[in-house]
Amino acid sequence: MCTPRKIFIRAYWLVTFALFAIAIGAVIEYAPDEETMGPIQKIFYLHLPVAISTFLACLVCFIASLGYLVQRKTWWDDLAAAAARVAVQLCAVVLLTGMIWGKSAWGQWWTWSPRLTFSLVLWLLYVVYLTVRVSVESGQRRAVISAIYGIIAFLDVPLVWLSVRLMPDIHPESIELAAPMKLTLALWFVPVVLLTAGLIVAKFNLNQIQRKRSAVLEDEKSTAATSGPLHWAGGAA
């Protein structure tokens, strides 16, 4: 019932939740409003840490993909899939917060600014990763193809970043961070990173359970198929 593992998991989420509460409190009470933009600017405190966490999730996916290709152990594959899913979820948050920022700053929901474009492409890159996994039926083939794609996609990320910076940037975003703002930002980093790690591990465990379950089903099916002799029991009754 109350195994050490379950206690740890509960404590982990409690701490994360508490840190989020502190961070939100800091945003509301502590961090000053920025001059030009007003209160909406505070979405930045969510946007930047989540963006960095997205990158971390993509990095985990990359390492796990490499690990799978080298060692061919299926838990690498489960880890890569979990990290990619979390990356997509986080990147959606990055996109949405970026768009909200853009709407309040420049009145448009979407601009092809380098930052938004980059977020969109990153999101698409890993949505494709997840779609690849859905599209391939064979377990082993799926793992190999995803791993290859996971490696290439991650290596592509810096190139995407560099290439979108060539695009014209009508709304350059430079933010002056006063000291209390920096502290608030730091306060947001920790719970966001904890959340990311927790989500990845949770999804990883789910993947492992699913894999074991379908392995058991496969075994049952294959042994059932070849057991027992065949008998002819007569024609139409």
Binding site: L69, T131, S135, V144, I148, I152, V160
Partner: protein, 225 residues
């Protein structure tokens, strides 16, 4: 070393011979390429001559779709009768298989480019006179990078059911830097009259170098005899 070069030539020649024999892919791909140019160009409007920078975008779409078909076909050759196992068992460095497939894909894609680009110039008066050399260089670097990943991915998905769709879905987002950089460079060259900056070309070269090396190294792990 000379043995490897001879084997590489043998492998590439074999692909081209088979392609010349069946002629399936080339006709399909060329027609598709020209169709895309026509349809897109019509969509952009026929009254104003499409300037060089728009030309790049239209041509890229044509290259992307034709390219995916080329990659699919050159890999499909190895699927029949498990010929891939025959290649894998030969005493050669399996990276050579990648390089020869890449070479075949490049040759096919350049053949497509050789037809589609003039078609675009003809139908829509693509005005490349300002900097034809830059245009050609950017296009070639782009096609090289695209073929580098396309060859790797096509080997990976070759045994799956949804080959072509899966391949297109994987290659397009990864190739975005190529498309973005080449269109931006062409905008600066043709509309703003600047020489293509080193940073832009640098990104293309970096893309090509990184993905050529990585694909070549990783290729063997993808093969499924």
């Amino acid at each position: 070393m000379t043995g490897s070069i001879a084997q590489f030539q043998l492998l590439t020649a074999k692909d081209l011979k088979i392609e010349a024999r069946s002629r399936q892919t080339m006709s399909l791909v060329l027609v598709l390429g020209v169709l895309i140019v026509v349809v897109l160009g019509l969509g952009l409007g026929t009254t104003n001559n499409v300037a060089g920078f728009n030309a790049m975008a239209v041509l890229w779409v044509a290259y992307l779709f034709s390219g995916v078909l080329c990659f699919e076909k050159t890999m499909a050759v190895e699927r029949n009768d498990n010929v891939l196992a025959g290649l894998m068992m030969a005493p050669l460095d399996r990276g050579l298989i990648y390089l020869s497939k890449l070479a075949s894909n490049l040759i096919l894609m350049l053949a497509v480019a050789a037809v589609v680009t003039p078609a675009g110039i003809l139908f829509f008066g693509f005005d490349l006179s300002a900097a034809p050399g830059s245009f050609a260089a950017v296009m070639l670097l782009g096609i090289l990078g695209f073929a580098a990943i396309g060859t790797l991915f096509s080997a990976a998905v070759s045994s799956t059911r949804l080959q072509g769709g899966l391949l297109a879905m994987m290659v397009f987002p990864v190739s975005l830097p190529l498309v973005v950089v080449s269109t931006q460079l062409m905008i600066r060259t043709f509309r703003d009259g600047q020489a293509p900056g080193l940073s832009g070309i640098g990104i293309l070269v970096a893309f090509d170098a990184i993905f050529l090396v990585v694909s070549w190294m990783v290729f063997e792990l993808v093969l499924e005899p």
